[in-house]
Symmetry: C2
Subunit: 335 residues, 2 copies
């Protein structure tokens, strides 16, 4: 038997991308209760882009952060309550709202080369006596050495763990193994992995992370999430069992959770659309796909060409305005 894998169920946060952040309080509360009863360790909640992200550019959420967090808090008995936070998208006052609502686990995220922006937030959360994870997004855009350096910064700020996000769904198991092994060798805190399924490799990458020493994994019911979606919880759990890992749940309880999900969270499983594969191949943030599709259709430009242009500019999450700019440039070139 191998070790214990702590599961974060991000259905109510990354999964919110799948419905343009329109999860209702009723859906959120009912699913959180079901996840808690199924033995999920951490239930992550909020706008797809995290605390304070509800806006015209990133999408207005159906509910505000405090409402979502308070309603989930009331339903959790065993599971911890988690949030995602990107400095700049969210402010310190958003962290205060989350503390007041009883959040246990704060996942403080930056682009993979900008760990320094998380310092004051990691320190603040630690000072408040809560758990602070450092999260490196778009982790395919830096090599293993740089990822280790950035993770060490977060560790020095007091992070309790480091989570690598493959935000673009670009990675393959060999790349995951290289980075996670480097972190395990160079850090004194646990390591986690958050996969996206753009290349159909979310499960394989999650297992590669575990086999390389990661002890925290993210998943979503039905695989709902930005772009082609996240690691599907219902497949991850039995595959982890096959590989000999323990979790707070088991396959039979996950089958029950999936069955209850039919009633409480009627959201289609994402499929891997060609737009998701293109963003994955070019290493672009999964959340860009709907913007790219819409602009390509409106301006009658080729989405493959637009992705090539965005990849050339090494665009990262938060630069959604540049997609509009590049789309209009391509459209003008065609005119």
């Amino acid at each position: 038997m191998k070790g214990y894998i702590t599961l974060t169920d991000a259905s109510l946060r990354d999964g919110n991308h799948a419905v343009r952040h329109q999860l209702t309080i009723g859906q959120i509360a009912r699913y959180a209760q079901a996840a808690d009863e199924a033995g999920i360790d951490i239930v992550e909640v909020g706008h797809g882009n995290g605390l304070g992200a509800s806006s015209a550019l990133l999408g207005k959420a159906a509910s505000n952060d405090a409402e979502m967090l308070v309603s989930v808090r009331a339903k959790l008995r065993r599971s911890k309550l988690g949030i995602h936070f990107i400095p700049g998208t969210g402010k310190l006052s958003d962290i205060e709202v989350a503390l007041e609502a009883g959040v246990d686990v704060f996942r403080l995220a930056s682009h993979c080369t900008e760990a320094n922006i998380t310092r004051q937030f990691i320190e603040y959360v630690r000072h408040a006596g809560k758990t602070a994870y450092g999260v490196l997004m778009m982790s395919h855009m830096a090599d293993a050495g740089e990822i280790l350096n950035q993770s060490r910064l977060m560790q020095s700020y007091g992070a309790h763990a480091i989570v690598l996000m493959d935000s673009a769904g670009f990675s393959t198991p060999d790349l995951v193994k290289e980075k996670v092994e480097r972190l395990i060798g160079g850090l004194s805190i646990p390591v986690g992995y958050h996969a996206h399924n753009n290349l159909g490799l979310a499960i394989a990458n999650s297992i590669a992370a575990a086999e390389s020493g990661a002890t925290l994994l993210d998943a979503c019911v039905r695989g709902i999430g930005a772009g082609a979606g996240n690691t599907q919880l219902e497949t991850l759990v039995p595959v982890l069992e096959r590989y000999g890992y323990r979790t707070g749940t088991d396959f039979e309880r996950i089958v029950s959770l999936a069955t209850r999900t039919d009633e409480v969270l009627p959201i289609c499983t994402p499929h891997i659309a060609i737009a998701n594969i293109i963003t994955g191949v070019f290493g672009l943030f999964s959340g860009f796909a709907p913007h790219i599709e819409r602009l390509a259709s409106e301006l009658k430009i080729d989405s493959f060409e637009l992705c090539q242009a965005l990849a050339h500019r090494k665009l990262v999450a938060g630069q959604e305005d540049v997609i509009v700019e590049e789309a209009h440039r391509l459209s003008a070139m065609n005119a």
Copy 2:
């Protein structure tokens, strides 16, 4: 740069499962032409269960074998035309129909421990001067040594290649590696792999097969296929490119094929439903899922329990009647 991977596009055969074998001649002909133009090596066509399978038990197909094969034959310039054949489901006269229609590649399949039933058909196809692959279905139900023995039988009958099918979508990359490496070491003919996506591992298993020496891979556009579907062609090709393999096509041509598919083959990408995961975990044939779902609903029995019972009886493809029998047994026990 690694070697060349021969791609079989099974969208018009295994993908026929996704629409209960109702692909029309128009859809078949138009998609075959698009696949040919995209540089696919082999286009496989027919009822989901192969030649001669159209029946009340396995599902009546919208078109007969000869119509399907003749219409595709007329569209292929570069691609070879392939069929799937299971002795018992199909008869020698069905092979004759396929020869007359101009089929190039005959994939002669048996349950993984019954290679001997393919002998006369492999010999017949070889005698007719065509390519004969030996196919071992449900390959998770025998260990690597037994798979090698059965493959050697097919090789001794004259098979040009051996294809392992993970018909239940049960396998993980480590299991694939073990079996494919054993075949590569013990056979003198090429080895292929046909994955199903029940555990979200179709791409990872296909890559594991290639990295272990397999040079033939099966895939379907959008991943359409029995159960949770097959390896998705549009993700397989860029991932193979990432790993350094050559194919007859490339990612940009696959993007074009996917775009044309929107018009010619309007079939939804399968998602990994909980029923597919249960059959995958228990190692049951992917094609059983709709039968299990229907019977569970009609007889008000638990599909998880039904799968456990079927797995206990080590049910294999072709034993669809036993599902009905077990379902009624469970229903009677509950009454």
